[in-house]
Symmetry: D2
Subunit: 401 residues, 4 copies
């Protein structure tokens, strides 16, 4: 059976309906609010629209109301959702909820699924993933984890500070990563805990102001202080938190890429429409070579990113670790999307930097993706180490003189 790049018809149909829904129902809301969801009411309205359009929560299994898309299927649908900054929220596939649903489906017990996944998949609550910490804690180096959980009668007590916890404002629960063994800097020894928002030991702190502003629920500081949780709050097994983090992170990196690829296409569409309609120096902008070069480079970047995402997703669907392909796809896509938005803005000139079109907003939103979920430098380091690890033979002998 040969290689086949034709999408499954059901997936193609879902992607097409997603595309139509986003253009018709989401983009106008996005334009009206500069890409930032203004209120819970607007979120609810967008999600109601997605439900009605039959495109809601497509990644979740049918049991929890979704379409059960595998990663390759998500690649097609999420890209369409990502065509608007608000599309992922509308479909309930925005970070961090989407990654948390993925994790819960893979790791949670039946009870935990009923209690946490079901309302999350339904859009009734939101969630956050409390892993990163202020320096010198866990950041691009997860082994630096300092938040600790120690056993107490009937459960655990968690203490530590978290930083840059996306979506924490308004989240119904947090998945908190805490060290249950070892010392900061050592591999392993982390455990994941499900912590309810009303736990008196979990404190949501200030919103960290950031260049990006469209992720609903913000990026927050959190503190766990004498935060006691029962044994049933442990997600998966004790001390295996890093393994589950990988379950979440690889796919979550890819779904980020899918969504941002949608924004890249949107930026390109805006710029091309502008270039086709604008005359300058006696020519149509779209007929000037330097503009054509930017348009072509955008198209190349988008196509290359899509190919890399597909490869990584297919490997994940095959049950492989896919870590090399994920790192490659994440690094390339984050930088490609950035270049596409930057060129698109440049093509639009002063209009591009104005708030009258969304390119300045997009630029702000995509920039952090070169840092979030592993900075490009960390991924490059991992990529190189894996490559070098595969090579142990000495250099080929030189030609004899």
């Amino acid at each position: 059976m040969p290689i086949d790049l034709a999408p499954d018809p059901a997936v193609a149909d879902l992607a097409a309906r997603t595309a139509a829904f986003v253009r018709e129902a989401v983009v106008p809301v996005e334009v009206a609010h500069d890409g930032v969801v203004p209120s819970e009411a607007v979120r609810a309205e967008l999600q109601a629209g997605a439900r009605e359009a039959g495109v809601f929560a497509p990644h979740v299994s049918a049991e929890f109301g979704g379409h059960g898309l595998d990663m390759v299927g998500r690649a097609a649908v999420f890209e369409e959702a990502g065509y608007s900054l608000l599309g992922p929220l509308a479909l309930n596939i925005a970070a961090p909820d989407e990654g948390n649903m993925h994790l819960l489906e893979a790791v949670a017990t039946a009870d935990q699924k009923q209690r946490y996944l079901a309302p999350l998949a339904a859009g009734d609550v939101r969630s956050c993933f409390a892993m990163t910490e202020p320096a010198p804690g866990a950041g691009s180096d997860p082994d630096a984890l300092t938040t600790r959980a120690v056993r107490v009668a009937g459960g655990w007590r968690i203490d530590g500070r978290k930083w840059f916890i996306t979506g924490a404002d308004g989240a119904g629960f947090a998945i908190c990563m805490a060290r249950t063994a070892g010392e900061p800097g050592e591999r392993g020894g982390a455990t994941m805990f499900l912590v309810d928002a009303d736990n008196p030991g979990m404190h949501v702190g200030r919103h960290i102001p950031t260049l990006d502003e469209s992720l609903y629920g913000g990026h927050l500081e959190m503190e766990f202080a004498d935060c006691v949780v029962p044994d049933e709050a442990v997600l998966g097994e004790v001390d295996l938190g890093y393994r589950y983090a990988q379950v979440r992170l690889g796919p979550a990196r890819m779904t980020h890429c899918m969504r941002w690829l949608g924004i890249a296409r949107r930026a390109q569409d805006i710029a091309v429409a502008r270039a086709a309609g604008r005359r300058v120096f006696g020519s149509r902008l779209a007929d000037l070579g330097m503009a054509q070069q930017m348009i072509a480079d955008n198209e190349i970047d988008i196509a290359a990113a899509r190919g890399l995402i597909l490869q990584a997703c297919w490997e994940l669907d095959q049950g492989r670790s896919g870590s090399q392909s994920v790192s490659i796809a994440k690094t390339f896509t984050a930088e490609a999307v950035w270049r596409v938005v930057d060129r698109s803005l440049q093509l639009c000139g002063s209009l591009g930097v104005s708030g009258d079109i969304l390119l300045g907003r997009f630029l702000r939103e995509v920039r952090p993706f070169r840092i979030y979920d592993g900075p490009s430098e960390t991924h490059r380091w991992s990529i190189a180490r894996r490559v070098v690890g595969r090579h142990t033979a000495p250099a080929p002998a030189p030609v004899p003189a």
Copy 2:
């Protein structure tokens, strides 16, 4: 007399005092307000400080209270002022006032100088330069000018719409470029007019929301409608507006470069301090090769930009047009500053995209400079045309077979 790159001692002293003033008195204000001047009171306070420090309005002639710096001298001082986003405003060398002072000193009559330049140099009023227009009017292509001025008894009547007029909110007067001959798309035929803010025919419209926010007085839409001005409002001679625009634009492009070069250095300082103080994966960040590469590339970009600015400024001081060197310096500097800020932000990771340090702000502020004052593409087009114009000989004959 050989080439000498040692700065004039008086200029060096002024630059050093500017550097000290900016670090001590301006940076704290900038940090407290995320780089955006919040009120007229703060502006007044900053300028009072600069006056006291003896660094106010250094580019203006002594007659109007300044130090009479030539372009090469400005390069040294403005870069130091630009180390903070608010430094230029403090020294009264921010765009567009600085360029307008330059233009008025070069072109205005004695009466006009007294009436417009003197209070502007003193910081008592601000001004704007009303040239660019909404598409399809004058933008990167100035010949597309559509605003018209027609002779009326004792003066002129101006009609037209302007767009992206920096500093217009609160400006005491505008220098308005209007077509007095020819049709849109034709070379020449423009005239500059001094229009007081209380002229009932000059209307300041909405603030255009933009990615950048630190230019005091915003970017605005303006309308001239039945705007009648007297003959004395003509700046220079009728129909020679484009020639005067060149008087203003070349130097103004260079002073932009100087100021933004200051921000590039600031970004590098922030990033290097961070890299020197942060440990990751068991190493100091500043000792990791990819970080070192970013730091080195920043240093190279800054040094190269400075050299190109110096060359262009020296040519302008020699009375040459300097247009090729100005285009080269402007294009390179705008892109180099952008790269430096982008790398610096990347070096700082999540902190870099947070509002807790100013790099995200800087990124927003410098991005438009690749578009303002001539997009890079327009300058490249000009550069190439001049190069090709110098070559008329056919390609060298190939080697005989």
Copy 3:
């Protein structure tokens, strides 16, 4: 049926055997001769080896002794063959023969296939494709074709000069593109002719010295002067030459990409082996961040190119024109391969520029691919035009003020 990226087992097996054959039997010959086949005897020996290994002419149908690989199958096998500069010649899939076989299978009559394709597929003769002309003739702009064919009794008379005809030295026949209608600069009107090497009107001129030297049979000047051919020499139909050129060019561009991707992987392997074995400044070179960055960027470039090639090949296999995907893949791959070889050479330092390893040779060989088969600029122009052509709607309306 979902997307599947797993290669057909038979193709995977052929690719693996090709990889083994190239490493064992071809690379030593390549190293001994600096990548340039020195004689017909060596060519014959390499091809005998490939026949014996069961990997010869894999793209040709079984009828003519091959494996009948589709484009997706070629992608896997040709990349392995391209791991050595001499691999493609060994497998009889080198340019221009491979593209000519493809064209003949698609267009030739049964008689023409017997006479031209059969010996070509067997490696008994070589061929060339005589299309490009000295300026101002057909080059990156095929419409500029000046060589003419006019009807004479029982056939055609061809007159014109050709330039940069790869493989012409020693070719048993040429496929010559000549204008049979219209004037230079007009679309269409070309016809393809099969011209035997012993035709007294076909003259093979000088070898053009070039940066690359590994394409067997060189790049030559040719002249057609009173070159009379019979009606049976027409390949396909009269005046449809451009259509057939497309049949040849799209796939030929992709097979170029596949082969050069093999060289990129080889360069990376050489560099990584070197980096893993070399110590400098107290560290292993492979552990230094700047080296890791180059290694990672190579890996990303290779993966992205492979994905784009696969996409284009799959479209071609589906019977689509694939022209946009082909242009994207060709442009990206040509530049990516260049970057990979350049970085690999840099990683090897002085050894890299020495002839003691093959990286300098590779650099010379891959550089022209950014020009051959359509310069990157021409492809970008095409890519942009197709994108702009799809957009006719005006820019999205700005946010109301």
Copy 4:
């Protein structure tokens, strides 16, 4: 006394005469021989021409027949000489002789000057600088020096292998760097020795084949075996070899830059002439945007490199170490020249990769400069370390929450 960028009139005159001489007398020889001096006779002829034109050995003091140019003066003249690959040899300012003359003037005794410098400056002999060694010896890391010199009666005995010794074939003497104290990997402990070509202990080995071929006298392997030299062979003081190497290396890096900048200008001139004379797709190539972008980027790169070279040279002339500015200028120029030649070749299409014009030759010649005299990565590492060393303060305090 303000900054002045106007060249000294005498230097400007010498530069202009050099430019004329190179275009008239050197370029035709270069074109006839593909940039590679074919024989001693041609070298002698070229140098005779330069002497007659009054432009010979301009960097040497008048005492030794030159013009005594300082580094800033060399920048102007050497760039003009470098307009042809053979210009530097004609003027007797090619590597490594030029650097050796510089070193000898600075360090040699009067007797050594008479014996070695005088004939070298006159072009009567050539020389080489025997420092680099095969891995794991001295390469980009000079501390790895393994060649040893030990005291014997009345002098020293040198033993060790050298690699990539430029100009060694035919050199009248070598300046050999050998360890007189410490162990490989330790700082310092090296001494320079003047070794005559007829010393029976000095053996010139094979020519290392390299991508570049225009440096007269090749790149060779050498061996010192029981090579006994008298005390008078010590250049400068014992154990201070690294200090003298710095005397030589900084200026030598800059003169390399100057010469290669000349080639960059030449490449641009060839490409622009071609673009101005070639029509494609109905336009003049020089009027197409993508071509204009390449031409403009070339111009920017050339101007920026020139500014950086000037800065570093001026610092060296002031007696400063200039090491940061030298590293910056060397790194930028090596990469800029490469980009310029690459773009110029691209602009010329297939003609560019042919040997009918010299761009393919230039590409081969300039590529190694990103490695020779310190790879870009080593310089970036040095640049970053100096920058970080200047910063010890912690990151600026964040805005209070």
